[in-house]
Each structure stands twice: as C-alpha cells, then as structure tokens.
Amino acid sequence: MSEKVLMKGNEAIAEAAIMAGSRHYFGYPITPQTEIAAYMAKRMPKIGGTFLQAESEIAAINMVYGVSSAGKRVMTSSSSPGISLKGEGISYLAGTDLPAVIVNAQRGGPGLGGIQPSQSDYFQATRGGGHGDYHILVLAPSSVQEMAELTIKAFDLADQYLMPAMVLADGTTGQMMEPVSFDFQIKEPPAKPWATTGTKCARPHNIANSLYLDPEKLERINNERFKRYEVIKANEALAEEYLTEDADIVVAGFGIAARIAKNAVQEARAQGIKAGLIRPITLWPFPEKPFAEAAKHAKRFISVELSMGQMIEDVKLATECKVPVSLCYRVGGMIPSPQQVYEAIVNAAKEVK
C-alpha cells in the first residue's frame, strides 16, 4: 500500500489505527470527526475487529478502559464537547496507567460552540483534561500524512509509557484530503504482563484500578508517575524548525496554524524580514529546547493560534519571558489568513528596528 492515495485526514487516522493493530474502536458521532467512526464501521467487521457506536461518549471511553485493561490496542475519537464528556474516563485511564489513543478533531467552543475548526482545546489536552494530577501525550498533526504517522506513534508511545495519548487534530486537518502513503514499519507492541486476561490459577490477579484509599500509597504512585513524565519530557518532545537559525521574528504554531504561518514566513523572507517558524509536533511534552535556543537571538515571538491564546503560555514558559511574545489569532471556527500572520510579522519587525 505504498502508493499514495488521496484520503481525508480523519480516514487516514482510522486506517493508521488499524495498521497499528487496533482492532477495537468505540465512538459516538460528532462533526467534524464522524468519518473516523464511519471508516471503522466499514472496516472493522471485515478484519475481525470491533466497531461499536456507544450510547454516549462517556460509555465509549469506558469501553476503551475495558479493552485497554485486557491488554489490547484501542482507540476512540470525538470532537471538543465530546472530549469533555470523556474527561472523567481519560483521568481514570491515566490513574490506572493504561495506554489508549484518543482523537480530538477540535471545533469552536466553548459549550456546543460550532462545527468549524478550532484549536481551543489546547489547555484541556496539554494539562490532562480531567481531574487529578496527570498528563497525557499530545500529538499535533499538520498534514494528512502526519494524521496517519502520529496516530501510529500515539499507539507506540501510549504502550511504552502506559498512559493515554491524544491526537489533537481539528476540523481542517480532519476534513481535508491530501496524498498519504501508508508505507510504515509497524513495531510489535510490547508485552503487557499487567493485562487482566485471566489468571488461569497460575498467577496472582492483575487489577486495573485507580482507587487508592491509602493516601500515602496514592502520593507514592503520583510521584512515581511524575518521574515517568520527566523521562518523557527529556526524550519525546518533537518540533519542526523552519528558518529559525538566524530569525529575528519566530512564529510558533501547531497543526493547521503552522501551515498558514509557514506561508507567512516565506512571504516575510521574500520581503527581507528574517522570520522563522517553530512547529511543535508534541504539545505535551512541549518542545521547550528549540524555543529556548531561538530566544537567544530572536527579538520577538508570535504565537499563531485558533484560540484566544493558549499555547502562548507555553511559549512564554519555554522562553522564560526573555523575549516579548504576541498573539495572532482567530476563533469561533474562523481561521487566520497567511496575510494576517504576515502583517503580524511585519508589525513585530517594525517594533524591533
């Protein structure tokens, strides 16, 4: 299947999940990600898998919990309001140290919001989303090819670190079609000796649980989990850098915002402005290094977002506020134009002259 095919981003996620060995999908329809469920409904019965349209998002995430406890790869998907409903279940997965892949094709909010693209669930995703001290891995694709690649990576990382991983897409990346190649080397999932697969009276019970009534034990488990998070932060942060080495103005953007920002950076370079782009590919862990490096020479940062300014906080943290950071944004399902980002770059360049 190495030939490139035209596919919607949502469909590429679904196909990639199947390639990664996920034979279980539970979901509930919501625009703009329903193609994932539709694809799974078509394919899963043909390959001996399970597609189940649950009675609600809450039910779906708890079915995910069940399959993951049994040691199998499993995925669910939704869009913003539906992800909020899954929040409790995601916290339980994190508290039980279970791997799972959750896709969020974000739409405008808050509340029911709209159905057009958005990135306003950044805080929810990168801070965990549910109650309690925890993180989930967050991967942000910006092309249909990456929708596939990062879905497979999400399964691998979730299994490696025993935690939920989210593919944080949006209405644009979900709905658009681009050529995609599925020429992937799939790694064998690691052994899961903790899975609740029946003891056959040959071993002690495995228990999938997030309830610890002994506060000392719960504190210890929280501390151990956060030690694991430190390892992830040190090893798994990913970003694409574009023309940043000599940049005076560094634009930051993930997903679709980065695609738009790249056009603006190219235009700025053509006009003689030294602009560059950092595109975080992992949002948690946030790729702090390239930002810290760029802060040594850059004079301004601009965070381009489809939100009222969420990632901008991580940009400020990563640069330790050494350089002013401004925001260039649209919300509610609106998308910044390359021209808007270009003008923000021009304005920033005027300020530093």
């Binding site: 035209l6 703009p32 159905i115 057009q116 209405g171 658009m176 681009e178 050529p179 134009s337």
Partner: protein
C-alpha cells in the same frame, strides 16, 4: 507554481467530487495537492464549496481564500467569490444557472451552459464534469490518460457505467 481552485455552488451539484477528480489528476501527475471541503450545514441546500490546491512546492495553507480559478455553479457563489479571484485568474460560469455576467475585466471568463449541455446529453447531474472538462482544456492540462486514471480513482469499479458518463461529460465541456 501553485494554482488554487475553488468550486462553488449548491450542495448536490457534485462540487466536492469535481474537486476530488482534479486533485487526483494532480496526484497522478506527481504534484502536491490538497482538497478542503466546506462541511457546514450549508451542504443541505445552501452554498457548498471545495478548495483544491495543486502545486510543485509543498503546500502551506490548504484553505483557498483567493482562487486563481473559480468554478461558479450558482448566483450566490458568483456573488460571493467573484471579487476574490486573483487578477489574471479564471472564472468558469454555468450560464444555464447564472444569468448575469461577470463584472470584472481583469480575469478571463468562460460561460458554459453546463447544466443544459449535461441534460441534453443524458445526464441531469453531471454539469460539474462539463465544467471540469472545459477548465482543463482552457488551462491546457486536459490529458486523456491522467483524466481517465483520476476518474478511475474517484469512481468505484461497480459504477463503471458512471465512469463512461463522467468522461463523456468532460469531453463535452472540453469540446464546447
């Protein structure tokens, strides 16, 4: 070189499909392509649109705000997008459905009675492909081999009869 296309009209006129054929043709010709539909509630009767970008370079923003080529299949779409077409660009108008003329004089305009041509030739629903045929001929990229392959990618084998009809409609557009 990058060319941005916008297909706009009513939901149900096959705008998304025509965009897909064009995008697949680009892919087969080894170009970078992206295709982005409007997916709002407007698809149930109001204006629907689909932007396609075909480029020799990696594609940045896939959103088509200022098309180089506009295919307008109803009046609201022409009203909405006429002013957005880049100077020197192209507008293809289904003149069976849109009575008014294009106001701008800095774009090349082609009036094709696509809906009438389609229905006169046995299809009430494939005016979109008549326009795609005309568009490719005008832009000098009507290549029978890649058109055939692209149609093959977009139409499943069990609807082979539809493939013939789509090809025929494209040829009618090409020869108009």
């Amino acid at each position: 070189m990058t060319t941005k296309y916008l297909f706009a009209g009513f939901g149900g006129q096959g705008l998304l499909f025509s965009g897909k054929v064009l995008a697949y043709k680009g892919l087969i010709e080894d170009k970078n392509v992206s295709w982005l539909p409007s997916y709002g509630p407007e698809m149930r009767g109001g204006t629907a649109s689909c932007g396609v970008t075909i480029s020799d370079e990696p594609i940045g923003a896939p959103i088509v705000l200022e098309p180089d080529v506009l295919v307008a299949m109803n009046l609201p779409s022409l009203d909405k997008y006429e002013g957005k077409v880049t100077p020197g660009g192209y507008i293809f108008v289904d003149s069976s459905l849109i009575e008014r003329k294009v106001q701008r004089d800095d774009v090349k305009v082609y009036y094709v009675p696509a809906t009438k041509l389609a229905s006169d030739n046995g299809s009430t629903t494939l005016a979109n492909m008549v326009l795609v045929g005309k568009l490719l001929q005008v832009l000098g990229s009507y290549n029978e081999e890649t058109v055939e392959k692209a149609l093959g990618k977009c139409i499943s084998a069990r609807h082979a009869d539809l493939l013939d009809l789509n090809r025929k409609m494209m040829e009618i557009g090409r020869d108009y």
